[in-house]
């Protein structure tokens, strides 16, 4: 038995049996296909056994068998809620290994889509998290539908840009595949302005709500030490008081040219993570504005368009590239043997590392908090299982 669980038992639980409850993989709050085998005493969780792997699709093997031209569209399917960042991690790794230059305009476009993706992804997170706490037949559904409405607007932008709404294939080694169409920048500005105004409404609706505070404040506290030991990243580690953001620490794709702040909260609870993400919403909007304002002219790719899938070859070598996705550090390790396909490829999924903090913080909470905490971790199972 988990020593933490033993502690809870010894701390004065009077008697009677334990209940083993299987939560997932088919559960409304499983956020995909998470399976948690909970040991309950009354309503208190005393043991968690997390089971993952239901969505495993051999992504790393796929990466070895698909060429540098083909795989970016497949990379979308690791973190399908933030497809743009997954693609970006892969092409950045390939560019790093192959020492491929990326034109300035392409870098800016990458920043724009990555930040729009962060907005879209956080919209989905806020909606589903409130759905976890508020129920499909309650206020949670209301927030969920509002957020989905905003996410749809952002997806409309992607559709106008790429032609797809969920899995894009926008990035390619050496740049991006498409330039922005006419009047897209204007539409983008309108959309993010609208989202920005709506954010105030959500904050009004949630933060002044005593029930929301009661459900989130002091719940699922990840201490600074735990966050660093387990290796969580993204909003989770920033909610625990560590200023850790790849965009700031190791700027890629011209992030050093933008003015944004990295939100840090010290409480480490669900509310802190919520605050971090709400500030990130606004910072992303500001970055998109700056990028649209300063969008340089020029080509969007340093390579000509490919005529066959095996045309892009990357020089021999290996390297690790990481980007700051909506859920944290998304990394891709690539070994190239000089051919059109990587010799070996390894994903570092943000959700996978973030999820590993769950057994540490779920012990001793109530069943209702399990879903609230899981929602605040914001896992995407395509990325956990890969």
């Amino acid at each position: 038995m988990d020593p933490e669980a033993r502690k809870v038992v010894e701390l004065g639980y009077g008697g009677s049996e334990r209940l083993t409850m299987n939560m997932g993989p088919q559960h409304p709050s499983a956020h995909g296909v998470f399976r948690a085998i909970l040991s309950l005493e009354g309503e208190t969780v005393v043991g968690v056994d997390a089971v993952i792997g239901y969505l495993h699709r051999c992504h790393e093997k796929l990466g070895e068998s698909l060429t540098y031209t083909q795989y970016p569209s497949i990379a979308s399917k690791t973190d399908y809620v933030a497809a743009m960042t997954s693609e970006l991690a892969y092409v950045r790794a390939a560019e790093l290994v192959g020492k491929v230059e990326v034109p300035k305009r392409a870098q800016y476009l990458r920043v724009i889509v990555a930040e729009l993706q962060r907005i879209a992804s956080h919209c989905l997170w806020l909606g589903t998290w409130c759905l976890d706490m508020g129920g499909a037949l309650g206020g949670g559904a209301t927030v969920f539908l509002y957020c989905i409405r905003e996410r749809e607007w952002v997806l409309d932008l992607f559709e106008a840009l790429v032609g797809a709404r969920l899995l894009y294939g926008f990035h390619q080694v050496g740049g991006v595949r498409y330039d922005i169409p006419a009047r897209w920048a204007q539409k983008c500005r309108e959309t993010i302005g609208l989202v920005e105004r709506r954010l105030d409404e959500y904050e009004d609706m949630l933060e002044r709500n005593a029930f929301f505070q009661a459900r989130t404040q002091g719940v699922g506290v990840i201490s600074r030490e735990l966050a660093q030991t387990v290796g969580v990243s993204g909003p989770l580690i920033r909610g625990s008081g560590v200023s850790y953001d790849i965009r700031r620490l190791e700027p890629y794709s011209s992030y050093e040219e933008f003015d944004f702040k990295v939100p840090v909260e010290t409480a480490g609870d669900c509310y802190a993570r919520y605050r971090v993400r709400m500030v990130e919403f606004r910072e992303s909007i500001s970055i998109v504005r700056q990028a649209l304002d300063g969008l340089p002219e020029g080509p969007v790719s340093s390579r000509p368009g490919v005529k066959s899938v095996g045309q892009v070859r990357v020089a021999k070598g290996e390297g690790y590239a990481r980007v700051e996705g909506p859920r944290g550090e998304v990394g891709c390790y690539l070994i190239s043997d000089g051919g059109p396909k990587p010799y070996r490829m390894k994903w570092r999924g943000a959700s996978f590392s973030n999820l590993s903090v769950l057994p540490h913080i779920l012990i001793g909470t109530k069943v209702a908090d399990v879903v609230a905490i899981m929602g605040s971790v914001d896992p995407v199972f395509g990325e956990v299982d890969r």
């Binding site: 409304p28 309503e43 508020g134 037949l137 206020g139 029930f211 459900r215």
Partner: protein
């Protein structure tokens, strides 16, 4: 033909009226679900049911037909008799609460002299059905939900009763029609601050008694899938749903009667039908108030729910009741 004895006549009358009321309630339940769905849809910037009939007006009938035609699945390990009985045991008290409700002066099944007491006692009985459903399903989610149900109903029935007693003290009668008549001048909700506070407390207790968000920990579909009714399907599910909404309408009517002056309103003295209409509108107002709260809050945790009840609502309702009693004693009944 010999005249029937008065008792038999009375029985036949009650039977007919009861039959009519039951069917009206069932019809109302189906359409109240539509009202709630439309209302919630508007809140969420959706349209709601729209395809079946004009503006989705036939949607409830389609839903009922669908539920009737669904396969009735009984889990293999379920306690069959308990499992099968539970929806009935749940539904009967939910329907019985309408027995004492006067829908207009002289329009009701039975105007008991202990109407409020009967209502409260019967509505508290629904927990038996809930627990049977949760226990008999042989499902862990259902069992946890049943445990929560017992916790919650016990905690919230007390403040519910205390709050419902405030109009009783003010009117000096347990008969529902007397309470309604006592508010002919000014509904109790406008008796600031006692009546107003009591009305708010009633709404909170109602939310808990009806298991609605933020107190819907029984159903809690993000934690317990659907709680005690997770294993029910088809007509049994429909019966539970029917009972839940009937209970909700019943408490809405009671709230409208106890605090909003029941059938008082313009032209109410000309015809009982006007009174019935006003009463219906007021009950729907209470219902929509509860619905409004439901669709804008997140659910709270079971320990927090119990804390709210025992630490806040129960003392507050007791204090309100005592304050009302003091006021009534000082000013004389009905004052």
């Amino acid at each position: 033909m010999p005249a029937l004895p008065p008792l038999a006549l009375e029985t036949i009358r009650a039977f007919i009226v009861g039959f009519i009321v039951l069917n009206v309630i069932i019809g109302m339940v189906t359409y109240v679900t539509l009202l709630e769905r439309k209302f919630a849809a508007r809140m969420q910037s959706r349209i709601g049911p729209y395809r079946v009939g004009p503006h989705g007006l036939l949607q409830p009938i389609a839903d009922a037909l669908k539920l009737m035609m669904k396969e009735d699945v009984v889990p293999r390990q379920a306690d069959r008799s308990v499992y099968n009985l539970a929806p009935i045991v749940f539904l009967v008290p939910c329907m019985l609460i309408f027995a004492t409700l006067p829908f207009a002066p002289g329009l009701g099944v039975a105007d008991l002299n202990i109407g409020v007491l009967f209502f409260l006692a019967v509505s508290a009985m629904e927990i038996v059905g809930l627990f049977m459903g949760g226990w008999g399903s042989n499902n862990k989610y259902a069992l946890i939900s049943a445990m929560r149900a017992v916790n919650q109903i016990i905690s919230y029935d007390l403040p519910f009763i205390f709050v419902a007693l405030i109009p009783v003290v003010l009117a000096g009668s347990l008969r529902l029609s007397d309470i309604a008549a006592a508010q002919a001048g000014l509904p109790y909700v406008f008796w600031f601050p006692l009546g107003t506070l009591a009305f708010f407390a009633y709404i909170v207790a109602t939310l808990a008694a009806e298991n609605r968000v933020p107190f819907d920990i029984l159903e809690a579909e993000s934690e317990l899938i659907a709680g005690f009714r997770v294993e029910y399907s088809g007509m049994k599910f429909a019966l539970i749903q029917l009972g839940e909404y009937a209970h909700m309408i019943g408490t809405s009517f009671l709230g409208a009667l106890l605090f909003l002056g029941a059938w008082s309103g313009p032209w109410a003295d000309t015809s009982p039908w006007w009174g019935a209409l006003w009463f219906l509108l007021k009950a729907m107002f209470v219902f929509l108030l509860v619905t409004w709260i439901r669709w804008s809050f997140v659910r709270i945790r079971v320990d927090q729910i119990l804390a709210i009840s025992w630490k806040l609502l129960l003392p507050a309702s007791l204090l309100l009741l005592m304050a009302t009693a003091v006021v009534v004693v000082l000013r004389g009944p009905g004052g």
